[in-house]
Symmetry: C2
Subunit: 156 residues, 2 copies
């Protein structure tokens, strides 16, 4: 994967979560994903596609981090993964990929976005039939942790 | 969802599975998906995206059906969901969406395909943040059953 593709997703993640949830977000070191276990208890998936590029963005949240983020968005204390929290995961995934899409589009790397999918469940095995490595970036908020996975490669 | 979009996915599913796995495939009646539980034990997901359209194709197989289909493709008897079977789910998902993409493209409904994602796990909750209904089509092979879910809607 073009390393130039990583920063727009990292920066968009920080901007969206900090702006929406009024919480500080600290990124860890990006690495190449090993294994195929999902992470956390709720994930948002969005397909990225154009004639030039194909990939996915996957966000996976532990329970404290997503309850803190969505609680911050709504201005209330949340205790469980309700349908509203699940929908918020899809909206956040959509906004983060939209931010990265805008940045990369300016550099000539265009793609469109599929419909967000949300998964609830622990220890779900997620594999991608990717043409190259999946990059994973851990993030920490003051409530918990989440992980962003990006893969984006030439279509042909 | 434009009903014109359903048949290309249905026909591509039958063609790909019958051609690859040498097994007869019988479709059931399409309906609007209710609830948010996943179906079967292994699923393939592919995002569909263009400036005009956004959606997903999700295939979910019960264990007998996918072992029968991939066993038919490889010409051997399979007993478990191995990494090769999981990869085959991604390939099948890719081929079915590719067939529907070709048919719909001829009619002016263009979209590109994201990277296939495979999920292994039972009772995973899958929700889509879709702009319209998700259509679900059940299929039967001589070994088992699988379900195809399609959502494809105008991007704006």
């Amino acid at each position: 994967m073009n390393v130039e593709f990583i920063n727009p997703f990292l920066e968009s993640t920080i901007k969206v979560i900090e702006t929406m949830a009024f919480t500080k977000v600290t990124p860890g070191k990006p690495s190449i994903k090993q294994g195929n276990k999902s992470w956390g208890c709720v994930s948002g998936i969005i397909g990225l596609a154009s004639e030039q590029l194909t990939g996915n963005l996957i966000l996976s949240f532990d329970k404290p981090s997503i309850l803190g983020i969505v609680g911050g968005m709504l201005g209330e204390e949340l205790s469980g993964i309700t349908p509203d929290v699940v929908d918020a995961v899809g909206e956040i995934t959509n906004m983060i990929s939209g931010g990265a899409k805008a940045t990369l589009s300016e550099k000539g790397h265009k793609f469109d976005m599929a419909t967000p999918i949300m998964l609830v469940g622990k220890d779900v095995e997620i594999t991608q039939l990717s043409k190259g490595p999946v990059i994973t970036i851990p993030f920490r908020t003051d409530k918990g942790e989440f992980v962003v996975e990006v893969t984006l490669h030439p279509t042909k």
